[in-house]
Symmetry: C2
Amino acid sequence: MTYCVAAAVDEGLVFLSDSRTNAGLDHIATFRKMNFFEMPGERVLVLLCAGNLSVTQSVIGLLHDRLASARHSILTQKSMADSAKVVGDAVRDVYQRDADALRAHGIEFNPEFIVGGEIRGETPRLFHVYAAGNFIETTAETRYFQLGEAKYGKPIIDRVIRADSSLATTAKCLLISMDSTIRSNLSVGMPLDLAVLRQGEQRVTMHRSIGADDAYFRSIREGWGEALRNAFHALPELAVPAPQDQSQR
Amino acid sequence: MTYCVAAAVDEGLVFLSDSRTNAGLDHIATFRKMNFFEMPGERVLVLLCAGNLSVTQSVIGLLHDRLASARHSILTQKSMADSAKVVGDAVRDVYQRDADALRAHGIEFNPEFIVGGEIRGETPRLFHVYAAGNFIETTAETRYFQLGEAKYGKPIIDRVIRADSSLATTAKCLLISMDSTIRSNLSVGMPLDLAVLRQGEQRVTMHRSIGADDAYFRSIREGWGEALRNAFHALPELAVPAPQDQSQR
């Protein structure tokens, strides 16, 4: 399984992905799920992926092969929506080639992508591309997308991220969301990839590979656990009848 | 769907269930998922259930029908493990009667139960009974069971509940776990049933039906959201390169 998440705020976009790939519990490996396509100052795209690894690698490979094509390159489109369409087309082409053979072996064709970035002249935009090649975009009401093991880490994002959250705050929130997921689900694991695109720069403002020894992630991890427990204990206690006191029954 | 959760701590047992039942998004109803079997001072059992409502109601009905049987009554067993077996037997009997007919209509036979309580002479015990009638019990390492939409509310339980958590603290934690789940998932809804069994009492120490206007639940709900946001903002911020500063790239 996988956990990938990205959010769009006024200052720009933040992406975070884990790197665990497993085919059963006894076949676990590390593969990066974050991919960059960049012409600094002109355009930048980040792709996060989830699903069968052979399928997502095929899609990414096809996108690289097509960089030479004026019409089909993900780096020559007029808009981010057209770029998401290029990803959707690549998904459909891999489906044409592989889906029947996979189905014959009981393997689901289930790739999913988060595609975000900025093209000069547009504001940053963020899309979720599905296995059928169709896609949706974030709106003012829903500013983030998740892939994979989304449930554990959803509550904190729902509570914290707003349009005016800074890039640093957004990154912190996504890292906490990831930490909650890693703690609860074995199929999500380190190292992580964190990327930040600041609006107006059309480039990767920051990319950080986060291993178990990353000082900032450790401070968040430990600090959050302690802060949660403190916040929890500061809340009022429920009045439970004392032993022998049956009046509140 | 459903969210039910129960935890075993040194002081006793705490149970919490939602009441939303849905057959598709346009068919939502309220059914309590908490059931009591009690001979105060002698024994007490609490059952939480999830899965197809006709199946879980049949199982609970069968347990009531069998209260008259010296051998098969859930209120005459020597131990809580034997009582969990009585629940498992009822599940198997309903399976014999209904599973084929349900399958013909594409309906899954998927009941699950949390069964906990105390019989005089034993310490309180907590079990998870599956659709096949088999069951497991909590241990010192794993002190809680969840049914249904378990993922959203799991991280807070993993972080907070310990053997020496008080009943009040445990109840507070389960309520926060429930709140996170209700916020993120439409298929889980109010009102809630909260029950507390204090060790050594062999009775329902406290049962509270919690509606949207419950003052304690509202204080937890609002307090937790604010406490989380405060804890979040108190954590150190990530150093994101300032605009034009490309040195940290």
